[in-house]
Symmetry: C2
Subunit: 219 residues, 2 copies
């Protein structure tokens, strides 16, 4: 793809994501995206055949960030449960701060209003978590009776509930604190020799800076 | 309210709930509700000033069922953690099978497309869970280091994620099995003397039959 076309697509995806976050899928028209991005409707339709296509492109663009988030945890020296905790913080930050990720989450919530099937990250997450738990098992670090693929699905579902409801439940609105509290409970069940506080502290030390400067939080 | 007016409202709420589940809030018009319920638009507007009002009434009607779900667990003889597990099964069944509850969940997911604030059950749930955990603490049945109100919020968020994603993650689509797997992990951290399997078995024995005959599951 030419640089100019790539740049236009980037601007369109970011404008669309911004508007999907603010107004939702049905509340956003191709005209709105044209106004917000400064690109003509003709230019939009040149790159994306429909609003559905644009929404799907936003979701796919978000998905393309997962490998980048996981990269710091590829090193084999980090214990698998620490990798898992570190990754959860990276993903939660991304879902909280990145406009593409926030648009993806809103599009997923409104998926039944979109005339196409919206891909989800859950299968990929469950697979990654299963692998880490299986590695922990091999190293004797997973509690007896914990079955990796079953526990992985439980973790993915409850992690997502946590990210989704941070602003809806009583208490702190800081997702880091919520995630700490969740891991303190979960690790106690997952670790062969439970020491949740220490593992959490080590994992949080490793969390790299945000891959891009954070977008302003919603008000 | 007269019996006839009450009956009309009931029919309208059930029709609206059915359509909200199938088509979502923006995909459902007052005309659709009129067609589906066999009531005129005039009759609808006599009872509800707008589609928003009708959506709110559906959510409130759902909320009015919570006390009915909790009633079997009011007896003081049941240990609080068993009550908690039993209640979670009752609520999950309700969210899975009852058309008003399913409409409420979809309206909540699409809440930002509705021109009014949609009430949520999460504060009420968190309070109820906090109380049960505090009772477990008093009886010496809660693990050391578990703070009732903090753990309650963690439980509410992750329970909701579990209900929301049952059909979206790999593995069984049976919400009872998912909930079992979740409780086996959580109880291990929550119980002072962990024995999750036994507690779960006792709690499931107590679950009463559904308060109303279940609606067909979505396909």
């Amino acid at each position: 793809m030419q640089d100019r076309a790539r740049e236009t697509r980037k601007v369109l995806l970011e404008s669309a994501a911004h508007l999907f976050v603010e107004r939702g899928y049905t509340g956003t028209s191709v005209n709105d995206i044209s106004d917000h991005s400064g690109k003509t409707s003709g230019a939009i339709y040149f790159h994306y055949s429909s609003k559905e296509e644009l929404a799907l492109a936003v979701v796919r663009e978000q998905f393309s960030t997962w490998p980048q988030l996981a990269a710091p945890y590829a090193a084999s020296g980090i214990p698998p449960l620490e990798k898992l905790v570190g990754l959860s913080f990276a993903v939660a930050r991304f879902l909280s701060e990145d406009v593409l990720a926030r648009a993806g989450a809103r599009l997923w919530a409104e998926r039944r209003a979109i005339n196409t099937s919206v891909p989800t990250p859950f299968d990929g997450w469950a697979l990654a978590v299963t692998r880490l738990l299986a590695q922990a098992r091999t190293r004797g670090e997973l509690a007896e009776g914990v079955e990796p693929s079953t526990a992985a699905v439980t973790l993915v579902c409850s992690f997502f509930g946590l990210c989704l409801l941070t602003d809806e439940v009583p208490g702190t609105r800081n997702w880091r604190t919520r995630l700490d509290q969740w891991w303190l409970l979960m690790l106690k069940s997952l670790q062969a020799d439970p020491d949740p506080g220490a593992l959490l502290a080590r994992a949080r030390e490793r969390i790299p800076a945000s891959p891009k400067s954070p977008a302003p939080r919603r008000t």
